[in-house]
C-alpha cells in the first residue's frame, strides 16, 4: 500500500482529544520542553487536564470561562495522533492574567526644548479574560506540511462557532529567548530580582497558579528598558526558535505582536479581535451537497476550487479538515461533509486558506 504524501490535505483530521489520546499527549509534553508551555510533563496532571477538556466539550452548561479545550490532529493514513493544540476560554480565570505592555513614555523639558522617548514595560492585566490559544505541538516530521496549519487555525473556527463560550479577543503566548538549560536573559535581569529561583522553577510555579501571585511581588512602576542589561533588552519580544512555526501561522491570521510580552521571559504575546482574523473573517457557511443534483456540485458553477479549512458545527463531535471547495460553491462536496460528520441541515464553516499558509505549508515538500 502506498501512503498519500505528507502534504495531501485530505490526510489530516482535527478533533477533540479523547481519553485514549493520553499516551500521545504525554509523548508531546515530554518532547517539547519549550514548545508547549502549558502542557505539564506529568501524566496525572495531563489526565486531569484531559478530563477537564472532555467535560468542556461535552457539557451543555453555560460556559463559566473556566473551560479548557484540547484538540489532537490525526494522521488518517497512519491512524495515529501527531499533534495537539488547545484553547483556554478565559485567560487568568478567577484571577488576573499578567503581561507587560510595551509603552513609550516621553519625558521632556519644554523650556529647554529637550525631550526623549523611553521604552517601558508596564505590568498590566489588559489580557485578563481574553481567550488563549495554547498547547500547540506538532511532530517534527509534519512541521513543513499543511498539518500545523489545520491544527492551529482549526481552533479559530471552533471559537467562531461557539462565540458565546469565548471572548471576542483572542491571544496566544509564545516562548521567549532561553537556552536549553533554562538560562533566560530577561528573567535573569528582571524576574530574578523578585523570585530567588531559576526560570524553569518559577515557570513551573506560575503554570499552576495563573501567574496572579506575581502581583504581590512585582512593583507597580513601569520598567525602563534602557536601564536593563543589553541582553535583556534584546530579548524583549523575541521568539524562541522552536516557536517560529506556530507564531508565523498566527501572524498570517492577522494577529498583532507589538503590544504585550510575557512577564517572565518577555516572549511575544499576540492578540487580535476574533472577527478580524482571516480564517474567521473569510469563512462562509455551507450545507452539505448531499441529496442535491449532481450538476449543482459541478466545478463550473462552483468557481475555481480552492484549498479551504472546513469545520463542523458540533461541539463535542467537532471536526476540522482541509479540502478543496469551489470559490462560489453553494454547498459543501458530499465527501468532505461526510468526513467532518456534517448532519443534514447543519452548516459547515469553510474558510479559504491564505496564500501565505499554502506557501508555508508546502515550501519544503
Amino acid at each position: 500500500m502506498t501512503l498519500p504524501a505528507l502534504d495531501d490535505p485530505a490526510r489530516y483530521l482535527m478533533r477533540p482529544a479523547r481519553s485514549d489520546d493520553l499516551d500521545a499527549l504525554e509523548r508531546f509534553a515530554v518532547a517539547s520542553a519549550h514548545g508547549i508551555t502549558t502542557l505539564p510533563a506529568d501524566r496525572a496532571a495531563l489526565a486531569d487536564r484531559l478530563a477537564r477538556s472532555q467535560h468542556a466539550f461535552a457539557s451543555a452548561d453555560d460556559a463559566s470561562g473556566e473551560e479548557i479545550y484540547l484538540f489532537v490532529l490525526e494522521d488518517l493514513a497512519l491512524g495515529r495522533v501527531v499533534g495537539t493544540s488547545g484553547i483556554t476560554a478565559s485567560a487568568g480565570f478567577g484571577g488576573q492574567f499578567y503581561a507587560f505592555r510595551n509603552e513609550v513614555i516621553v519625558h521632556g523639558n519644554a523650556a529647554l526644548g529637550l525631550s526623549n522617548r523611553m521604552h517601558t514595560l508596564h505590568l498590566c492585566h489588559d489580557l485578563t479574560g481574553v481567550t488563549l490559544l495554547t498547547s500547540f505541538y506538532i511532530e517534527p516530521a509534519y512541521e513543513h506540511t499543511l498539518a500545523p496549519q489545520l491544527l492551529s487555525r482549526g481552533r479559530l473556527l471552533f471559537i467562531a462557532e461557539f462565540v458565546e463560550r469565548f471572548s471576542e479577543r483572542v491571544a496566544a503566548e509564545s516562548p521567549g529567548l532561553a537556552d536549553d538549560t533554562g538560562h533566560c536573559p530577561f528573567w535573569n535581569a528582571v524576574g530574578r530580582q523578585f523570585f530567588d529561583m531559576d526560570y524553569p522553577v518559577a515557570e513551573k510555579l506560575a503554570g499552576g497558579r495563573s501567574k496572579s501571585f506575581i502581583a504581590a511581588l512585582m512593583p507597580p512602576a513601569p520598567i525602563y528598558v534602557a536601564v536593563l542589561p543589553k541582553a535583556a533588552q534584546w530579548a524583549i519580544g523575541q521568539l524562541h526558535p522552536v516557536a517560529e512555526l506556530p507564531f508565523s501561522i498566527l501572524q498570517d491570521e492577522g494577529f498583532d505582536a507589538d503590544t504585550w510580552v510575557d512577564v517572565f521571559d518577555a516572549g511575544p504575546i499576540v492578540e487580535a479581535r476574533l472577527a478580524t482574523l482571516h480564517s474567521v473573517a473569510r469563512a462562509r457557511h455551507l450545507s452539505s451537497a448531499e441529496g442535491r443534483h449532481a450538476g449543482q456540485e459541478g466545478e463550473a458553477a462552483d468557481g475555481r476550487p480552492r484549498l479551504c479549512l472546513i469545520s463542523s458545527p458540533h461541539r463535542d463531535r467537532f471536526r476540522a479538515m482541509l479540502g478543496r471547495v469551489g470559490e462560489t460553491a453553494a454547498h459543501l462536496p458530499t465527501a468532505l461533509a461526510r468526513q467532518i460528520d456534517l448532519g443534514p441541515g447543519a452548516l459547515a464553516r469553510v474558510a479559504p486558506m491564505s496564500l501565505n499558509a499554502l506557501t508555508r505549508g508546502g515550501r519544503h515538500d
Binding site: 523639558n109 529647554l112 526623549n116 501571585f213 511581588l217 512593583p219 536601564v227 542589561p229
Partner: protein
C-alpha cells in the same frame, strides 16, 4: 585666650522672594596656623525659586508566604522632597574637605549652633529639615557609574556635555527627562548599585563629622553621582546640645580649673566665638574678658550659647 576661635557670620539677602523667611547665612573661619580660610553656607528655602531634585531611596516590602518569598526592594524615586529645607552649602569645597578634623568639626559645630538659634527664634521652623550633599563615589577617570547606568540613558549626555550645554543648573534642568516612575535599584548594574549613597574618599571624614553632628545619610542621594545627602530634622539639632540664652560675665582671674569650651553667638556683631569658660552656679556663663569684648557683651544682655 589661646584656645579662642572666631567665626565670622554674615546674613545675606534672602535670594528667594517666594519665602522671605528663607535664611541665608555665610560662615567664615579665618585662616590660622598654616590652615586656609574655610567657608560654609546655610541656605534656606531650597528649591522654592526653581525646582531642585534628589533621588529618594524608598523601601518596598512584599511577602508571598505561600511561596516562602520575602522581598525588600530599594526604589529610586526622583522627587523634590527637600524643597523648603535648609541646605548646608559649600561642603564640597576642596579646602573644607582637606581641612583638619578639628577645624571641620568646629565649623560644623558652629553651623549647628546657629541653626539651633534660628529654630529658637522661629519655632515655626522646627519642622524644617537641614541637609547637606557630599560628593559621591566616582571611577578613576572621575566618571559616575551611577549616571552612566541611569541618567545617561534618559538625558543622552554626559555630565560634562550637559554642563557645557546647560550651565551650572544642568542637573535640575535635565531632571524632567529622568525617570518619572520609581526605578528598582536591583535592576541597575552592580557597579551602579555599589556607589549609591557612597561618599567620595576625599569627603569621608567630613561625612563622619556630619553624622556626629546628627546629620545622617541614607534617605536621599544626588541624581548625578548618587552621593549621600546628610540630613536631620532641625528639631533634632535644637534638642542636641545644651544650648540656651545665657547672661555673660567675666571669668574671674582666680577661677579654678576645670574650664570647658563654650560657643557664644553675637548676632549684632556677626561673630560666633568659642572660648574656655565655665558655667557659674547662678547659671551665668563666665568667659574671658577679651571674649566678652569681642562679642560686644552688654550688662544683662543674654547670648545664645552652648558647650563646644
Amino acid at each position: 585666650m589661646t584656645d579662642t576661635l572666631l567665626i565670622n557670620v554674615r546674613q545675606e539677602a534672602a535670594p528667594n522672594a517666594l519665602d522671605p523667611q528663607a535664611a541665608s547665612w555665610h560662615l567664615q573661619m579665618p585662616a590660622g596656623d598654616g590652615s586656609p580660610e574655610l567657608h560654609l553656607g546655610l541656605q534656606g528655602g531650597t528649591g522654592l525659586d526653581r525646582p531642585r531634585h534628589w533621588i529618594h531611596l524608598g523601601t518596598r516590602a512584599h511577602a508571598a508566604p505561600e511561596l516562602g518569598l520575602h522581598h525588600r526592594q530599594t526604589m529610586l524615586m526622583l522627587g523634590s522632597n527637600l524643597t523648603g529645607a535648609i541646605e548646608l552649602t559649600g561642603l564640597a569645597a576642596p579646602a573644607l574637605l582637606a581641612a583638619e578634623a578639628e577645624r571641620q568639626q568646629a565649623l560644623l559645630d558652629a553651623a549647628v549652633l546657629l541653626l539651633g538659634w534660628m529654630a529658637h527664634q522661629q519655632p515655626a521652623n522646627l519642622g524644617l529639615t537641614v541637609f547637606g550633599a557630599l560628593p559621591g563615589l566616582r571611577d578613576e577617570r572621575g566618571q559616575s557609574p551611577f549616571w552612566a547606568a541611569l541618567g545617561q540613558h534618559f538625558a543622552g549626555m554626559t555630565p560634562a556635555q550637559a554642563a557645557q550645554r546647560l550651565g551650572a543648573h544642568w542637573a535640575d534642568d535635565l531632571a524632567p527627562l529622568l525617570p518619572r516612575h520609581p526605578v528598582m535599584l536591583s535592576l541597575l548594574p552592580a557597579g551602579a548599585q555599589a556607589v549609591v549613597s557612597q561618599v567620595a574618599p576625599a569627603a569621608s571624614r567630613l561625612a563622619q563629622q556630619l553624622v556626629m553632628q546628627g546629620l545622617a545619610s541614607g534617605r536621599h542621594v544626588d541624581l548625578v553621582d548618587a552621593g549621600p545627602v546628610h540630613e536631620a530634622p532641625l528639631a533634632s539639632l535644637l534638642a542636641r546640645r545644651g544650648a540656651a540664652q545665657r547672661h555673660l560675665q567675666a571669668l574671674p582671674a582666680e577661677a579654678a580649673e576645670p574650664l570647658s569650651r563654650w560657643w557664644c553667638w553675637a548676632p549684632a556683631r556677626g561673630v560666633l566665638l568659642r572660648a574656655e569658660g565655665r558655667l557659674a552656679d547662678d547659671g551665668r556663663l563666665q568667659l574671658p574678658s577679651g571674649a566678652l569684648a569681642t562679642l560686644g557683651a552688654q550688662l544683662d544682655e543674654a547670648f545664645w550659647s552652648a558647650p563646644g
